[in-house]
Symmetry: C2
Subunit: 378 residues, 2 copies
């Protein structure tokens, strides 16, 4: 059975990204590698919309989240973490691991931030750093980072944004919005294999990092990354860097605005499709990366995603935490185009129908087609 | 120009390891991935000669070294690091990063350990952990880990061995010798792409780790690896795990004893070759992974390795630290066979001759051929 990956990471890789990883390994202390590395560094600045350096770590995205915590904070610092889903929670777990007092700013899963309440909390706590998420992968919710960053600047708080699943799908205008630290993983919108994490740091953030007293070595940005931008302090994940370099070239040639626009049309088509057959979206402000859909009342969501995966060969993500069995998530992220959305919706129509849900077949697909027209080259 | 990699990591990858990385990405929360992961876990136990679990991290080998430090030690613990080269030094840097009192047990680069002096030091310091290196990559020196482990057991000290470049080349009998923690990287004897690190931990080490008070999250063995042996707490580096799985199958089918024997013959042939043309070995007890050779008196070693790389297409490693320009290093590690040694020696003959060194061409190759005979199938 032909298999399809509609999960919010790892995402499907372009064929040229796959094939470049099969090329013979090269050494990292060579001009050849340094040129690839330079292209990656430059390309990431473009994608992150920043003039600041973007450092690439050989780790999962969580490694870059840990790097943000242990580089930016010092032991006496306070922090606030906006928690509106599973990945927001990771910020508090990370701070706890470093014995940092991190307040949780709880946001109901799938609901937008109350900016007034956030401002009050910041004024009361006076944290050094606010941790936030662009797209909360577990709920498909997009947070208004532009507004959060404005608030942080007014209050003199450093902002760290987990853009692991949001980057390339939702606008992330790092410098324009004045965000100090943005991080992402390779296996999402960057259309690359998992195993790399990227983190951009403003001059202010780098200065704070140079004074941090928290223990670190592999994740020390000043010592292990800032000082080694030409190649790497430790042996880099050479095949993955090559894959990333190839994917970055694709993004540069499509252009970031077009990349974001494509994601926004794919997301809109997906939402229109599921709503056309009576399904409800979970988040109030959905991201362009992933659409979280409520499982119809009375239906077992785990059975539904299992049927779609094992019966139809299409792998969607289910719900996490208290949403397990209650939602399923359709990613339209990275190397994704119109007919990926069509096949996802077709699979959903068939599987829901199998499970006794009443719908008119073709209706979700038809609604999506109306919107996907915008992607046809004329 | 055809290029050859004779560096002690990254090493050349077998063709099937390369091509498996070009296969479409699969999701890690699937039976398909879990089966690959299980094969990797089992295969690593075989390669590490242990019944204990071997955990695979998405990081360079340094990540596993950091994991050993921040999991095994607690803030009040003392440690001793045997330092006989650049990578031994890394242990003390890592301990320092975590504010752990780590004494340096200095060993002259390339010279064997004085076991009596080590015993005295251990008795005086009473460290919780001793950090050591199997093959010190920077000098090509092999340490007698069996003896060190015996001493550690007598003195009740936990032993951690960096086998990053030694694994698969030199015997590393983890359980037989009673070593608590052994770690390695993917890009050396494991014939896999860089970006993965593997660490085995005895039950005693895991118990100590469960009580450690040092901060960690991504590298927390109890929370992030021991608890997730079926797949992974964080998105794993899926393509690299697949490559590693393929390389492990090769090692299993050759058999560890044969793998070690092959490395030992390649190393012996290399040593015989360079000595036949009057060169001197640097370390007193050379490893099977890499042969460090003294650059002839008066010759610029950096020029020599540059000529061999840029002029001949063969990439050898030079010296590090105070050995820069004074030695060059020939790796015979991983996916390496008789004619790799021959081409390396031929290149050395030609380049040395170019640089005015007096030698009889073919003499190094002839000496090696005598020994490599043992590898011919009859």
């Amino acid at each position: 059975m032909k298999k399809y990956l509609m999960t919010p990471g790892p995402t499907t890789l372009p064929e040229d990204v796959l094939s470049i990883m099969a090329q013979p390994i090269i050494h990292h202390r060579t001009k050849e590698y340094q040129e690839i590395n330079q292209r990656v560094n430059d390309g990431l600045k473009y994608i992150f919309s920043t003039q600041n350096p973007v450092f690439t770590l050989a780790s999962s995205g969580t490694g870059a989240m840990e790097a943000a915590v242990c580089n930016l904070l010092s032991s006496t610092d306070k922090a606030i973490a906006i928690v509106g889903g599973k990945f927001g929670e990771r910020w508090t777990e990370l701070c706890k691991a470093y014995k940092i007092e991190a307040e949780v700013f709880e946001v109901e899963w799938g609901i937008p931030l109350d900016m007034d309440r956030l401002r009050e909390r910041i004024k009361a706590t006076k944290p050094a750093v606010l941790f936030s998420t662009l797209c909360e992968t577990s709920t498909g919710m997009l947070f208004d980072i532009k507004a959060v960053s404005g608030l942080c600047q007014e209050e003199g708080v450093m902002l760290v944004v987990d853009a692991i699943s949001g980057l390339c799908a939702d606008p992330m205008l790092t410098d324009e919005w004045g965000v100090d630290v943005v991080l992402s993983g390779s296996q999402k919108g960057l259309m690359s294999p998992p195993g790399l994490a990227c983190i951009s740091m403003s001059q202010k953030a780098l200065e704070k990092a140079s004074k941090s007293d928290l223990p670190k070595y592999y994740f020390s940005i000043p010592k292990a990354y800032k000082a080694y931008q030409k190649d790497s302090a430790f042996t880099p994940a050479i095949t993955l860097i090559r894959g990333l370099s190839c994917a970055i070239e694709r993004i540069q040639s499509e252009g970031m605005e077009n990349v974001i626009k494509r994601h926004s049309i794919l997301a809109e088509a997906t939402r229109a499709g599921v709503q056309a057959i009576g399904l409800e979206l979970f988040p109030k402000n959905p991201s362009n990366a992933v659409t979280a859909v409520k499982v119809p009342e009375g239906m077992d969501g785990k059975k539904l995603t299992k049927l779609m995966k094992d019966g139809y060969g299409v792998n969607f993500a289910g719900g996490q935490g208290h949403l397990e069995g209650k939602i399923f998530r359709i990613a339209h992220l990275g190397y994704c185009d119109k007919f990926d959305v069509i096949l996802a919706l077709s699979c959903i129509e068939m599987a829901l129908s199998d499970m006794g849900y009443s719908l008119t077949k073709g209706k979700a697909v038809a609604a999506a087609e109306e919107i996907l027209k915008q992607l046809i080259l004329s």
